[in-house]
């Protein structure tokens, strides 16, 4: 069985069918992109994986474990971390504190009324390492809410990585960014994928990013799976061309 296995999932909101019988298998270490026109059900599909929404039908398993009925916060301890379409950070704290909180949580200190002496040094080290990897060292002392969009996104990605996830879900990581920022974030994602062998699923609108990064692509349209394949296969797929890429390619 695949690392992340999604079998025939559906989500109905009353009479509206947002996601209709989508299956997807993601292997360990793979970078999968989910694309599709607006309203294709991508974010709903994501929320089904992370447990923010409950399934109407179907099954999601991570590393063989069925996730049915498991609260989103518990899915994090199973190794699932995500970022949001609209960046979710701690705006009134510094970047370093933004990173420190998930590092401490990951170290099992969430209930600790005091910092154990033995953990001070390793935790500080890990924070600095994450800041360095995310290219955030220079701005570590600034308030996260005052940063540029790209730096906020990098902060959010590093906050998710601080949890040491086995699966990273990124919801439109480059949405609303200029070319330079898009490039920087894409490079960060590629590095995480290649150097840390992280399994990543991302939703993305920017086709340059998708075709550069993804190992495989799943195309959704109107809540249904339209196609799946390598970037090359997808560009050559006539149905996808007609439904989606035609306008942009």
């Amino acid at each position: 069985m695949s690392f992340l296995s999604i079998e025939n999932v559906s989500k109905h909101f009353g009479s509206l069918i947002a996601v209709d019988g989508v299956s997807m298998n993601v292997e360990r270490g793979e970078l999968r992109a989910v694309i599709g026109p607006n309203g294709a059900g991508k974010t709903t599909f994501f929320n089904l994986i992370t447990g923010m929404l409950s399934l109407t039908k179907g099954r999601v398993t991570l590393d063989g474990q069925d996730l049915a009925g498991i609260d989103p916060s518990k899915r994090v301890s199973l190794g699932m971390a995500r970022t949001f379409q609209i960046t979710e950070i701690f705006p009134d704290l510094t970047v370093r504190e933004n990173i420190r909180i998930p590092v401490e949580i990951q170290a099992g200190l969430r209930m600790s009324p005091r910092m154990p002496k033995a953990m001070e040094a390793p935790i500080r080290q890990r924070i600095e390492q994450l800041l360095e990897e995310g290219g955030l060292t220079k701005i570590a002392g600034r308030l996260a809410g005052e940063l540029s969009h790209g730096d906020q996104r990098a902060t959010e990605i590093m906050m998710s990585l601080a949890l040491k996830p086995r699966l990273l879900l990124l919801d439109e990581p480059t949405a609303g960014m200029g070319d330079d920022e898009t490039y920087a974030v894409a490079r960060l994602i590629r590095r995480i994928h290649q150097e840390e062998k992280m399994t990543i699923v991302l939703i993305e609108h920017d086709m340059r990013v998708v075709f550069n990064l993804a190992d495989r692509i799943t195309v959704l349209a109107e809540g249904r799976p339209l196609a799946e394949g390598t970037p090359q296969e997808i560009t050559q797929n006539a149905t996808v061309q007609a439904a989606y890429l035609g306008g942009e390619a």
Partner: protein
């Protein structure tokens, strides 16, 4: 321990120096009991701010726990054992227990819904104290008791007659309580609370059981509130049902907002301003609350981070 950082400790040192020397200079501007009142109300406001300013949850019913602490202390001394220490312990535990039991019913709520339900619970206690005349003294309050001198066996402290001794007794309790809150807020646990204030969704997606952490913050906050309530009963040698009333909860919120709820000492500052204004204005005019209200409106409109926000900005300039 991190190295002693003078710059970071400056506010703590200033506040402590002012409070420790208070009996020496307070008579030039006011009187010792008013200083004690400031410390008691400051503790209450800082207890509320643990939840309000550092977890981002607005309670409009904290008077309930203040009142439980006050009545717990008063009734223990009146009916069970004339011991100040036992009274304080019973009062504080009563507030803590009530918070632990009420907490699970309300921690799922957010924003204005949370505030409304905390008011409702507070009013329940108010009416119990108001109606149960035989035990609580009803509307007239509970009299016929006094704070008792402290007897440590080897030494006695007359906190009953000497207001300065009583002031230092309250100050010691205050310092211990505030130090515990301060250390908690600088701990990994405290940072999860700040994280909830900053962004609940992000915190949840870091694997934190947000409702559980809010419950813990709520219990800690209410416990120190009850401690402040028991001090208030000792200060006045009297309790009455208004300690429970929702208006009293509002006063605590006003203190936090006026002083600055993003600052550790802000609520203390707010309490000092409020208590002093009340004392000064109420002797000058029966409409003193209008003036306090005016000050509050001015602070909220022009200094959204409170008085401490102004001081901090001046300090960085």
């Amino acid at each position: 321990m991190e190295n002693f950082d003078l710059k970071k400790q400056t506010p703590n040192l200033i506040v402590m120096a002012l409070l420790v020397t208070l009996p020496l200079w307070i008579n030039y501007v006011s009187y010792t009991q008013l200083g004690t009142q400031v410390v008691v109300m400051g503790l209450a406001a800082m207890a509320l701010n643990f939840l309000l300013g550092y977890t981002g949850v607005l309670s409009f019913g904290h008077a309930a726990y203040f009142g439980l602490g006050a009545y717990g202390a008063a009734m223990t001394i009146r009916y069970i054992e004339p011991s100040t220490g036992l009274g304080v312990i019973v009062g504080t535990l009563a507030g803590m227990l009530a918070a632990m039991l009420i907490g699970p019913m309300i921690v799922r709520l957010r924003g204005v819904y949370f505030a409304m339900v905390t008011i409702a619970f507070g009013q329940v206690f108010y009416f119990i104290a108001f109606r149960w005349n035989t035990v609580t003294g009803g509307d007239d309050g509970l009299t016929g008791w006094k704070r008792m001198p402290l007897d440590f066996g080897f030494a006695k402290l007359d906190i009953q007659r000497d207001p300065t001794t009583f002031y230092y007794f309250v100050l010691v309790i205050f310092v211990i309580a505030v130090a515990i809150m301060g250390l908690l807020l600088r701990s990994p646990f405290g940072r999860t609370l700040i994280a909830i204030r900053e962004n609940e969704r992000r915190t949840r997606f870091m694997g934190i059981n947000v409702n559980l952490h809010i419950w813990m913050s709520w219990v800690i906050s209410c416990t120190f509130m009850a401690l402040a309530g028991s001090m208030s009963a000792l200060l006045n040698n009297f309790v009455d049902p208004r300690a429970f009333f929702w208006r009293q909860s509002g006063v605590f919120v006003i203190m936090c907002v006026m002083g600055g709820m993003r600052s550790f000492w802000g609520p203390m500052m707010g309490a000092a301003i409020y208590v002093w204004l009340q004392d000064y204005l109420s002797s000058a005019t029966p409409n003193w609350q209008s003036f306090v209200g005016l000050v509050f409106v001015v602070v909220v409109l022009f200094f959204p981070r409170g008085v401490m926000g102004i001081i901090r900005r001046k300090a960085t300039e």
